[in-house]
């Protein structure tokens, strides 16, 4: 389905984790390069700790706003169980980028369901290219847990049909009116994500 000309990026996580912001930055970047872009997510109850996915599609002309199962070029997962949930959306040559920092919902806490033993290993049996690292821990090392968003965008920067520096510039644009320290911190986080993705 338009696979030759449309790039599909699926961002998955939990309501409030920054999924929508990451998708927004990817969309703005593609738009600045002249692509037709569509981005969709289902909000509403999703902000109450539920699953949230954001679909970003860009190319010469984009029709359907949502990415079908088996059609995603890149899966950016902010949580490993969510990565496993959405791995079916990757095309055979697609790439998954996974934050291994776990967030268990109350239904797991109260013992109704089990958390998967090893989501990343299980994903790898799908024969998709899977990169996984603990972006949550990396963000803490850098000094702020909110940096996960920037780290994950850095991690996929070399998987996209445009230059990593272009994405980096649009990430940093969000911080240009804030403190120099925050700008530098995000720059560092973006590069840390790129490096981590190459090593894992």
């Amino acid at each position: 389905m338009n696979s030759a000309t449309v790039t599909n990026i699926l961002v998955a996580g939990i309501g409030g984790q920054g999924v929508m912001t990451a998708a927004e930055i990817l969309s703005e970047t593609a738009m600045s390069l002249g692509f037709d872009v569509k981005k969709t997510e289902v909000a509403g109850m999703a902000q109450r700790g539920g699953v949230v996915t954001s679909h970003v599609r860009f190319g010469q002309k984009v029709h359907s706003p949502s990415i079908a199962a088996g059609e995603a070029d890149v899966l950016v997962a902010f949580e490993p169980a969510e990565a496993l949930r959405w791995v079916t959306h990757l095309r055979p040559e697609g790439v998954a980028m996974v934050n291994t920092f776990r967030l268990a919902p109350p239904v797991v806490s109260i013992g109704l369901f089990d958390y998967p033993d090893d989501p990343v290993t299980e994903m790898k049996t799908s024969k998709r290219e899977v990169h996984a690292f603990n972006a949550g821990a990396l963000a803490l090392e850098l000094g702020d847990r909110r940096l996960v968003n920037t780290i994950m965008l850095g991690a996929i920067a070399d998987q996209l049909p445009f230059d990593a520096e272009v994405l980096k510039a649009s990430v940093l644009k969000r911080f240009q009116h804030k403190s120099q320290a925050l700008l530098e911190l995000n720059q560092k986080a973006f590069e840390a994500g790129r490096t981590a993705a190459k090593q894992n």
Binding site: K38, A43, M45, A46, Q47, S66, P105, P106
Partner: protein, 628 residues
């Protein structure tokens, strides 16, 4: 009609369908806009509120929002009201008579159908209202059309003196796409309100004269639909053709780029001649409608042969995958049949939960501990009380229904239920939307029902919007704040049966609920702590668990707070030989805001204040901001 306004010189925008509608309202020179929040339409009014030239408001319900828009239209001004699909059920009483009057200033109703039920109690097809109320229906297929069609809807409304329905769906409202805005409408001088009782006072003698005029308008609108460039043929293969409206058009283009398509943007009245002409050259003709086979029945009655719901589902989105499976049969070759390629274990569900420190947690913890109850619920965050770990909600129907249903449960009780206590649970905004009448029915008819009125001073589920309980209006200005104890007393609840309780004070809440359910009368227990998503909520020092003190009893997990996590489980054998499952916990200190609810459930006092506060990521994802 082919009057798309010329593109203005503004650069391309990247906006949602909801924002596109708001920009169209701005550029169409709308004077009055009104709505009640409801997913997926909520943001339309939030965006409009930023335009100083438009009077905009949160109305107390959708019917009032339409009435406000009607008044503005009669005053000669352009007016818009927006609502979700179930909101139009509420507003329909006004709509069904206003259609006889028509419109003076452009009157546009934007209705958002939650196709796929992302956050609704049902999935209904609002295009029916176009037929029922004899008004035109426009169906945008993307952001640009959400803008263009809303602009056109105002022109249509004034040209044909009719309310116009713009039907959106979730995948229009919440999809961001490209938008080029067009030159704003030229301001037109209107004469103001012109008294015309024969038209504006709908008594039987007047109304019966308006009905033939409405029928004449139907005929004129049909001609307009036939001529409209919103109904356009995209000629492709004559082997396969589609008739389609709304976002399903995008799915059809994605799945079958070679096919011929008749795209209906002005879908009611259906342009039958245009459809007939298109159908004659197509070997296999498929009608794609989200949700009901509405047009299908009309076209089949006209003798037009096509396939529709005999192959397509009448629930949910008709995405490319759904279309391919339906049209080519399930054995068809989908490019990458994903489920055949990847097998993974089923991942646990992640249902929506109440927020960390939500005041409703205390209410549902308490409700889950009271026995022999039937709990009649309502629409809002407290519907989540039906889930784990509380399982403390037995019915949920529609906005405000909790009390009427409770009265029926009370009066209709069988002998088997003679010892049951009937409880209603409703939030402040829902109570003001459609609940007040239900309470009055309880008192008037001497019910035995205990009402829990959960006043968190906001419309929580849609994101914490203001309501008359907030003391703040849509623009953030100070206004009245409803005095609930006075209000419920005015509705007939006895002074001694009204209690205001802090929902974080579990013993008081439990005792009040237990005592009031024993009284054969109408009681109202009002909780008084704000929604944690709003600025009124102030976080306190977070908590942690002293691991050495935790005995694994798991009581705190029954509060249902998402910040309480199980660190390890153990099975112990008790002296009598039975096994007991222990769950040792910790608290995500970064997410916790110190509401202390869980402290009251902890026997060994293992939950204590945490010394350090980590702000950021986990706090954010759980929907709570912490100042470090």
């Amino acid at each position: 009609m082919n009057a798309r306004h010329p593109i203005s010189e503004q650069s391309r925008l990247f906006v949602s369908g909801n924002e596109a509608v708001s920009l169209a309202a701005r550029d169409a020179k709308v004077k009055v806009a009104a709505a009640y929040p409801g997913t997926p339409s909520t943001e339309i009014l939030e965006y409009i509120a930023a335009y100083p030239d438009i009077y905009s408001e949160w109305s107390i319900n959708e019917k009032v929002s339409l009435e406000v828009a009607i008044g503005a239209s009669l005053a000669g001004s352009r007016a818009l009201c927006a609502m979700k699909h179930v909101g139009l059920n509420v507003a329909s009483d006004a709509l069904m008579t206003q259609t006889l009057i028509g419109a003076i200033g452009g009157l546009v109703v934007v209705v958002a159908d939650d196709v796929g039920l992302s956050s609704s109690q049902n999935e209904q097809d609002s295009r029916y209202w176009g037929r029922f109320a004899h008004i035109p229906v426009l169906e945008p297929a993307d952001t640009q059309e959400a803008y263009d069609f809303t602009r056109l809807a105002f022109d249509l409304s004034e040209q044909y003196q009719t309310p116009v329905l713009v039907r959106l769906t979730t995948r229009i409202c919440h999809v961001k796409g490209m938008l080029e805005t067009r030159f704003p409408a030229a301001p037109t001088a209107k004469q103001g309100f012109l008294k015309d009782p024969a038209r504006f006072v709908m008594v039987p003698g007047h109304a019966k004269n308006r009905i033939p005029l409405m029928m004449q308008r139907d005929a004129v609108l049909l001609s307009a639909a036939e001529a409209s460039d919103l109904n356009v043929v995209e000629q492709g293969s004559d082997e396969l053709g589609f008739i389609v409206s709304g976002v399903a058009y995008q799915h059809v283009k994605e799945a079958y780029p070679e096919a011929s398509v008749l795209k209906l943007g002005f879908s009611h009245p259906a342009p039958l001649e245009k459809i007939r002409a298109f159908s004659q050259n197509i070997k296999r003709l498929i009608l794609v409608e989200e949700v009901e086979p509405l047009l299908e029945k009309e076209l089949k009655a006209e003798g037009i042969a096509l396939e529709g719901k005999s192959i397509l589902p009448n629930i949910g989105e008709l995405t490319p995958v759904v279309l391919k499976a339906a049209i080519e049969g399930h054995a068809a070759e989908v490019k990458t049949p994903p489920t055949q390629l990847i097998h993974t274990t089923q991942v646990f569900p992640r249902p929506p939960t109440m927020c960390v420190a939500c005041p409703h947690l205390g209410v549902y913890y308490t409700l889950s501990k009271v026995r022999n109850t039937y709990i009649s619920g309502d629409i809002g965050c407290y519907t989540l009380g039906a889930g784990h770990p509380w399982n403390a909600l037995d019915t949920c129907i529609s906005m405000g229904a909790s009390m009427g249903v409770a009265l029926g449960l009370d009066k209709g009780r069988q002998d088997a239920d003679s010892n049951k206590k009937v409880i209603s649970v409703i939030g402040d905004s829902t109570f003001l939307h459609m609940g007040m009448q239900g309470l009055l029915d309880l008192t008037y008819n001497k019910a035995n029902v205990t009402v829990l009125l959960l006043d968190n001073r906001a419309v929580g589920m849609t994101g914490g919007q203001n309501a008359p309980s907030s003391g703040i209006n849509l623009q953030g200005e100070k206004t009245i704040s409803v005095d609930f104890p006075q209000l419920v007393k005015a509705l007939g609840v006895k002074e001694e049966r009204v209690h205001v309780v802090d929902p974080y004070e579990l013993p008081t809440l439990f005792k009040t609920l237990r005592d009031e359910t024993k009284v054969d009368d109408v009681s109202v227990i009002i909780t008084n702590q704000p929604c944690v998503l709003t600025e009124r909520y102030h976080a306190m020092q977070p908590l942690k668990v002293e691991d050495s003190d935790c005995n694994g009893c798991g009581n705190c997990l029954e509060v249902g707070c998402p910040a309480i996590l199980v660190s390890r489980r153990e099975t112990v054998v008790k002296p009598n030989g039975s096994e007991k499952e222990l769950a040792f916990v910790n608290i995500d200190t970064a997410a916790c805001t110190g509401c202390n609810l869980c402290v009251g459930t902890c026997g060994p006092k293992a939950i204590v204040p945490a010394q350090t506060i980590i702000s950021g990521y986990a706090a954010d994802h759980l929907g709570v901001e912490i100042k470090s």
